[in-house]
Each structure stands twice: as structure tokens, then as C-alpha cells.
């Protein structure tokens, strides 16, 4: 082997001898250097080394760091702090709630119901929950909440419109067209403009009652109120204790027929106690006792009356 190395020496040493430097190093790569270079030029290995390995190292480092509990806690705390700091910035501060579309009394109630301790960050306000709370008020049909620029919480209120007074054993209640309670009422005279309804389930049948009142026409001034009978049909109570008993079905048509009868024969001005329209074949009248007696007398019918 020694002699072979010596054979190589002339080729490797001549150039340097002329230039006067130390013998030039053999430029040939060692077998392992050569193999390593070829390995590194292999596409799969290259891809692994330049993409896969950094990713693995990165992921490994991160997961090891996260595997340590205090690190994780610290990171979460830091993130939470960052988030809190961000949310507490004055740009996101809501300092004023403006209630629109509600009367002053209602606005005050709404403000209380919102339950927000202003000023607070807009991130902390749960608008949906606040809206549900406001809409839970009887007088509020619909509420729109939005945070406007300038730190204003705008509350747009659509109030319920009372259309009738409902008298129950507990007292008077204002109800809207759907029958929902709007507010209580102390005295009927506070809202003489609204029709009065009474009886079980009258609030649920409010639309029908309103339709009847609309259809009443010339009888309107005489209407004292409507009574829901047995949660199934309406009676119209007029002054002079007159009562119109309407059928369960098509009460408006029955009422129109009554009005036609009234127009033709001036029925309602007569001494009648009740007009029973429950059967659509015929209206049935009940006269007052005096009228009945007078009528019988006019027909020559003698009856014995006593106090019993």
C-alpha cells in the first residue's frame, strides 16, 4: 500500500513544487464524503432535510414547550391579559345607552331592565341577552340593540299599541291586537277611547272582538263592551242592559244581519232584553218583562203573576 501512495505522489506534488507551496491536498472526496453528497442530492432526502426536518424540529420544540404546565398557564394568562387590555381600550368603551321610540316612562324601565353598568367594553355586552331582557317587558313589542360609534348603545324600542281594555276579576288590563298584555289600568275612565272586553279567554280572541266592533256601525255608540262567553263566543253588551248573543261561527255576519234587521225594523230601539243570534236560522228575541206583559195584554192573554 505504501508503494501505491508513493505512485500518487508525483502527480500531486509537481505543481506545488514549482510554486513552492506545501504539497497540494488530494482533491478527491473521501468515500463517505462522496456518499454523503450523493445522499444529500437525493430528492426525497433533500425535501426531508429542507422542509420536513425544520417542521419536525419546530413542532417538536413547540410541543415540548407546551408539555410543561407552567408554560402553558403563563401563555394562557398572557393571552387573556392581552385580550383584556385590548377590550378595555377606550375605542370599545360604551358609555351611554340611548333608548329611542319609547315613552319616557317606558324608557326609564327599559334602561333599568338592560341591566348594564355603563361604561363597559362593548366586548362584554351580551346584546342578545339584553335584547331578550328588554323584550320581556309587556309594553315592548320589539327591541333592536346596536352599538354605534362614539360609545353609544342604541336601543330602538317598538312599543305595543293598546287596542282594548280587558276586564278581569283582578282588574283592568290594556291589551294589544294580539291579546298580549300592555299595561295595567287603574280605572276604565282613564282610557274611554278603547273598547272593553271581558270574560275568560277574551284576550286571546281580541282580533275577533276588534272585527266585531268595526262591524258594529250604528250600534257603536251604544256598545258597553264585549263579553267572551265560555271561551267560545261573544256577547255584545249594549246600554239599557241589552245584549246581543253572537254565534260561535261567523259572528261578524250575524252582527251584520242584526244591523240589517235593525235598520229595517228599528229593532234595537225597542224594549228588548236580548237578541239571540246563536242559531243562524232565526234570531230569537227576549222582551223585557214589561214589554212582554204589554204584548200579552194587547193580545188579550191574561196571566197570573205573583212575586214568586
Amino acid at each position: 500500500m505504501q508503494s501505491l501512495t508513493a505512485l500518487r505522489a508525483p502527480g500531486g506534488a509537481y505543481g506545488p513544487k514549482m510554486s513552492g507551496h506545501s504539497p497540494r491536498r488530494d482533491p478527491a472526496p473521501s468515500k463517505w464524503a462522496y456518499r454523503l453528497q450523493r445522499l444529500l442530492l437525493t430528492p426525497g432526502i433533500r425535501a426531508f432535510l429542507f422542509r420536513g426536518l425544520p417542521i419536525i424540529v419546530l413542532l417538536g420544540g413547540v410541543s415540548i414547550w407546551f408539555g410543561h404546565e407552567p408554560n402553558r398557564q403563563a401563555l394562557i394568562a398572557q393571552l387573556t391579559q392581552l385580550r383584556a387590555d385590548f377590550e378595555a381600550r377606550p375605542e370599545f368603551l360604551v358609555s351611554l345607552a340611548r333608548v329611542e321610540g319609547a315613552s319616557d316612562d317606558l324608557a326609564e324601565v327599559v334602561r333599568v331592565k338592560l341591566g348594564l353598568t355603563l361604561p363597559m367594553s362593548s366586548f362584554d355586552i351580551d346584546l342578545d341577552a339584553a335584547r331578550l331582557r328588554v323584550e320581556a317587558l309587556d309594553a315592548v313589542q320589539r327591541a333592536d340593540l346596536r352599538v354605534r360609534s362614539g360609545g353609544v348603545l342604541q336601543v330602538l324600542i317598538t312599543e305595543r299599541d293598546p287596542v282594548a281594555v280587558w276586564r278581569t276579576a283582578a282588574g283592568l288590563t290594556l291589551i294589544d291586537a294580539t291579546g298580549h298584555r300592555v299595561a295595567g289600568l287603574v280605572a276604565r275612565t282613564d282610557r274611554p277611547d278603547l273598547p272593553l272586553i271581558a270574560g275568560d279567554g277574551a284576550d286571546l280572541a281580541t282580533p275577533e272582538a276588534l272585527a266585531l266592533i268595526d262591524a258594529a256601525g250604528p250600534l257603536t255608540p251604544r256598545i258597553r263592551g264585549l263579553v267572551r262567553m265560555g271561551n267560545r263566543r261573544w256577547d255584545i253588551v249594549l246600554d239599557r242592559n241589552q245584549r246581543v248573543m253572537l254565534p260561535e261561527k261567523n259572528p261578524v255576519q250575524a252582527l251584520e244581519r242584526l244591523l240589517a234587521l235593525d235598520h229595517a225594523q228599528d229593532l234595537m230601539n225597542r224594549d228588548i232584553l236580548t237578541v239571540d243570534l246563536r242559531s243562524d236560522r232565526r234570531p230569537t228575541l227576549r222582551l223585557t218583562p214589561h214589554a212582554l206583559a204589554e204584548s200579552r195584554r194587547a193580545q188579550g192573554i191574561e196571566i197570573v203573576e205573583n212575586e214568586l
Partner: protein
């Protein structure tokens, strides 16, 4: 013979696989340098047709993406003399070329100039079974060529069908599909020393590379240096390398003769070294910088510092005139050319219609060589440089890279060889299953 024959077949398959992968390395194992080129095959769709210059000789199908040369070590006369030195040199070249190409190459096509190539002309004849020539018939007629006794330890390096004749029509390039009765083939066979090839195979295998082809450097440098009409009309290419001078004769675009003279530029260098008592490297430097073959009066006055660091002032300050240098170089170059002349005469180059001679290789760059060659070889001598191929660095375009460039062209457009044709079914062993399969394929 069958050993290299089968390995040649395996190499051809390997070359196809390398083409599929698109990257292949070219290795020119020479006596003075080892060159490695890395080729990338683009496929025909990436040709730049719109540039006006179309693919010339098919070389634009590939592109040289890495090139490296290193001083050869352990190679003498184009043959590997010291195995591990050569292995290291090959590793150096391959590594540098890979680094430049930034890609790993596994398949390599190699050429070498030594191993005493010998040419044989073979002829075979066959009566066709049916009147149409099929591929089977071609392989049968090639198999019918009677192989001469190559001698002990010889292998076939190239065996190329050169000419086909069908009934009395000769000069057919591709007889397939033609109609006739009697098919004849001429084949050129180049045999080399088996041991030399085995050494090279072993060396390349030790570098973790797979050999995808082998070629004689005389053949491949002719491919790159001879222009098309020279190949067609007949020409000889003389590849003057470091340790051996390759010689190949082409006609009708086929090599019909190949040989090598075991002398080259290194012998000129060693003459200078011996004559002037200087180291080989200094002799090489003086040869390349001041060398020449024709002395003029001017050269008497041009003094060359020989140099040296022996420590003896007198010896280190020696000067010689260029005439003296020429006087050393010229006899050796003349001797090489005389040898080439003798070989050409033995090959019957005189009887060729065209007597064009092309000198290439690193040693052909000696100034004045064409003049001497004209005197020795005949009037029609020119210096050849290899064809330009895409992506080749400027430093690798000289005559010294003729065989490397030719190997590129050889890789892109290999000549059909004997082993590229299927083995005729009669030649399979009698009880082989493949024979049965082949019989079915041929008959149905």
C-alpha cells in the same frame, strides 16, 4: 462473450430507465483527464422550434447541466492501472458535476480509449421464410453472422449492423417491411480486452454508480467531430488523447473500423521531461504553453525558462530555445502519426472514396500539427472540434472534449447494436418457457 453480451443488454435497459428519469452522467475516462458531464433530457416538447435553428443531429433533446474535469490518476494508455486512484478521480469528477447540476445521478455512460480495440467485419445471410422482412428476420440474420475467434479474454464492445442487402439490392439501412427472398447483413464488431472493461465496470460500481452504456472513445469522438457529410462519404477520425490515439473510420454514417495506437500526448510530455530533465508537470506546462511542431528563425531567439526548485541555481535558471523544444516534440508526434498511418493502411483506408482525415482530441491542439499530419497522412486533413451541444461550458468545448461530447450524442441517439434486437426464438434453450411464449407470439 455472452457475459458482456448480457451485460450490454442490461446496460441498454438501464439507459432506458435513465432516460425515463431524465438525468444521466457521461464519464470519459482518459489518460490525462477524467471528464464528467451530467445530461438532462427534456423530451421533444421542450424544443425551441421558434428560434429558427431546429434540433441539429438531435442534440437539443438534452442539455448539459453539470460539467467537471479532473486530472486523471491511475490510468495509463487509456486503461485503468491503479484501481483506487482511478476510483478517486472518478469520484472527484462525478461529485463536482453533481454539485454543479445540483442533482444526483445514478446512471453513467462511460467511454475509454485503451483495451486494444480490434475491428472485425462480419457477414451473414438468411433465406427468408416469407417474403416480407420482419424484425425477427433481422435478428436472425444478425445471429447468422459467423463470429470470428476473438481470442482469449476478448469481449465485444460494439457490434453494429452496418449494411443490409436484400436479394441484389445492397446499402439498405432498414430492411424491415421490404419484400425479398434472401437477406444479408454486414456487421462491424469491435472487440476489446475483457479485463480492462471489467476493471472499469468494477471502478464505476465502487463509485455507487450504475453503468448504462459503454463505448469506445475513438467511436464517440468521431460522432462529435465528423460532420454529417464526412460520416456519410467516408472519413477517419483520429482522436489524439493523452495515453492512446484512437482511430475510427466512418462511411455511410457507420463505423467500419476502429483501432487505437498506444501513444499520445503524454509520451510527448515524457520526452520533454526526459530531454530537459524536468518534472512531468513542468514538462506538461512547457508543452502546452510553448509547444509547437514547426521551427522558424524566430523560435531560435525565443528562450523558455525551464524553472525548477532543485535548489541548484544553475539548474533552476536553465533556458532553452523554442526550437529545441520543437526538436524534442516533433519526432514523437511524427512517430504517432506514422503509427496511425500504418494502422490506416492496414485498414485499407486508401481504398475509400473519400480520404478525409479529422484530427481531434487534446493532443491535436499542438500548433502546427495539421502541417505535419498533411505530410504524413495525406492532403485532406483538418482539425476537428466537437459539435456544440446545449449547455456545455465554454471550457469544455475544446478538442479535448470530443469524446465526452460524442458520448452525449451517443447517449441521445445510440446506434443499433446487435444486442438491441430480440434473440431469435431458435436460439432460446429448447425447453425454455420463453421459447414457447415466443413461438405463440410469432405464430398468432
Amino acid at each position: 462473450m455472452t457475459d458482456l453480451y448480457t451485460s450490454q443488454r442490461a446496460m441498454r435497459n438501464m439507459r432506458k430507465a435513465a432516460m425515463q428519469r431524465g438525468v444521466i452522467a457521461i464519464l470519459d475516462v482518459g489518460t490525462s483527464k477524467i471528464a464528467c458531464l451530467v445530461l438532462r433530457f427534456d423530451g421533444p416538447d421542450q424544443l425551441r422550434e421558434q428560434d429558427g435553428v431546429g434540433p441539429m443531429a438531435g442534440q437539443s433533446r438534452f442539455r448539459v447541466i453539470g460539467a467537471a474535469t479532473t486530472r486523471s490518476r491511475g490510468v495509463r494508455f487509456g486503461e485503468i492501472a491503479v484501481m483506487n486512484e482511478t476510483e478517486r478521480a472518478i469520484r472527484t469528477a462525478v461529485q463536482a458535476a453533481q454539485k454543479m447540476a445540483n442533482v444526483r445521478v445514478d446512471h453513467v455512460i462511460a467511454c475509454f480509449s485503451g483495451a486494444e480495440p480490434r475491428s472485425y467485419g462480419l457477414a451473414g445471410e438468411l433465406d427468408l421464410q416469407d417474403s416480407v422482412v420482419t424484425e425477427q428476420d433481422v435478428s436472425r440474420v444478425l445471429a447468422a453472422c459467423d463470429v470470428p475467434d476473438l481470442g482469449p479474454g476478448r469481449e465485444v464492445l460494439h457490434a453494429q449492423p452496418v449494411n443490409f442487402a436484400l436479394d441484389h439490392r445492397s446499402g439498405l439501412g432498414d430492411p424491415r417491411g421490404q419484400i425479398g427472398h434472401r437477406l444479408a447483413a454486414d456487421m462491424h464488431l469491435l472487440s476489446v480486452d475483457a479485463d480492462v472493461v471489467q476493471n472499469l465496470l468494477y471502478c464505476i460500481k465502487r463509485c455507487d454508480l450504475e453503468l448504462a452504456g459503454l463505448a469506445s472513445s475513438a467511436y464517440v469522438s468521431a460522432i462529435s467531430s465528423l460532420v454529417e457529410d464526412e460520416q456519410e462519404l467516408g472519413a477517419a477520425c483520429i482522436d489524439m488523447g493523452g495515453g492512446a490515439t484512437g482511430l475510427s473510420i466512418f462511411i455511410k454514417k457507420h463505423m467500419i473500423y476502429g483501432d487505437a495506437v498506444r501513444m499520445g500526448g503524454d509520451h510527448v510530455t515524457s520526452d520533454i521531461s526526459k530531454g530537459l530533465q524536468i518534472p512531468l508537470a513542468a514538462a506538461e506546462r512547457i508543452k502546452t504553453r510553448h509547444g509547437g511542431l514547426y521551427a522558424t528563425g524566430m523560435d531560435d531567439r525565443e528562450m523558455i525558462d525551464i524553472g525548477g526548485d532543485s535548489g541548484d541555481w544553475e539548474k533552476d535558471r536553465r533556458q532553452i530555445s523554442r526550437t529545441e523544444l520543437i526538436g524534442i516534440m516533433r519526432p514523437r508526434v511524427e512517430e504517432i502519426l506514422e503509427e496511425v498511418r500504418a494502422t490506416l493502411d492496414a485498414a485499407g483506408f486508401d481504398s475509400l472514396p473519400s480520404q478525409q482525415i479529422v484530427l481531434t482530441g487534446g493532443a491535436s491542439q499542438i500548433p502546427g500539427l495539421d502541417g505535419i499530419a498533411t505530410r504524413v497522412l495525406g492532403q485532406r486533413v483538418r482539425l476537428g472540434r466537437p459539435l456544440r451541444v446545449q449547455g456545455l461550458p465554454q471550457a469544455a468545448t475544446g478538442a479535448a472534449f470530443a469524446s465526452a461530447v460524442g458520448l452525449c450524442l451517443f447517449a441521445a441517439h445510440p446506434q443499433d447494436e446487435w444486442w438491441d434486437f430480440e434473440i431469435p426464438s431458435e436460439r432460446y434453450p429448447a425447453r425454455s418457457l420463453r421459447r414457447a411464449v415466443k413461438w405463440f407470439k410469432d405464430n398468432w
